[in-house]
């Protein structure tokens, strides 16, 4: 069965530092992958997605992610974190076939130190 693992429950970085959030997936075929961000009490905002093609995808707010098939990973990166990036980040894989739904990781909460 498909699954998504986000190994880090909580990460704290200093403002201006670089960021990498890890995501590993389990999927039999070429996955459709997503990163969403959720501020407290809010819905999910799409940061970026990978369907096919270039394995380095650019998203909003200066985020990027790299799909590595050999490592079954889709890590999210940002070169310089801003205080407003503090939120919870979710990696997701589309379930495939005709199922339609997304399978989410447990999320990584990002705190930003001034």
């Amino acid at each position: 069965a498909q699954s998504v693992t986000q190994p880090d429950i909580h990460i704290t970085v200093s403002e201006g530092a670089s960021l990498e959030l890890r995501c590993n997936y389990s999927y039999g075929a070429t996955p459709y992958l997503f990163w969403y961000v959720q501020s407290p009490g809010q819905g999910l905002q799409l940061l970026l997605k990978y369907f096919s093609g270039d394995t380095l995808v650019q998203g909003i707010k200066g985020f990027e992610a790299e799909f590595k098939r050999s490592q079954s990973s889709f890590n999210l990166r940002k070169p310089s974190v801003h205080w407003s990036d503090a939120a919870e980040y979710f990696c997701a894989v589309e379930a495939g076939g005709s199922q339609g739904n997304l399978i989410f990781g447990k999320g990584t909460k990002l705190s930003v130190k001034p």
Partner: protein, 114 residues
């Protein structure tokens, strides 16, 4: 362009009652998805509707049901409410092309069961 909207924002019910949550998709989208985000359980898929039909269902009991109207808006009904149904319920919409599509989320409805 308006995003996905959900109503009400908050809903307080007592155990055994019924709750009705509503969702309006992005204009042009035909698919609506419902997810439950309960504390400690992460984001779990509930239901998928496309063109008025239920297309897929997550691992939830039958007291979770819904429908999709001709204008593609959707309603989630939860009967015989239990304390553990307290959660943020998120609705998402897409163009309905499962396997190569992007789901956009609404702000959610916070359901509290007392």
């Amino acid at each position: 362009e308006a995003g996905v909207t959900q109503s009400p924002t908050h809903l307080i019910k007592t155990r055994g009652q019924q709750a009705t949550l509503r969702c309006s998709p992005i204009s042009g989208h035909t698919s609506v998805y419902w997810y439950q985000q309960a504390l400690g359980l992460g984001l779990q898929f509930l239901l998928w509707y496309d063109e008025g039909e239920e297309r897929n269902r997550g691992n939830f009991p039958p007291r979770f049901s819904g429908r999709q109207f001709p204008n593609y808006s959707s309603e989630l009904n939860v009967n015989a409410l239990e304390l553990e149904d307290s959660a943020l319920y998120l609705c998402a919409s897409s163009f309905g092309l499962a396997g190569a599509d992007t789901q956009y989320f609404g702000p959610g409805t916070r359901l509290t069961v007392l």
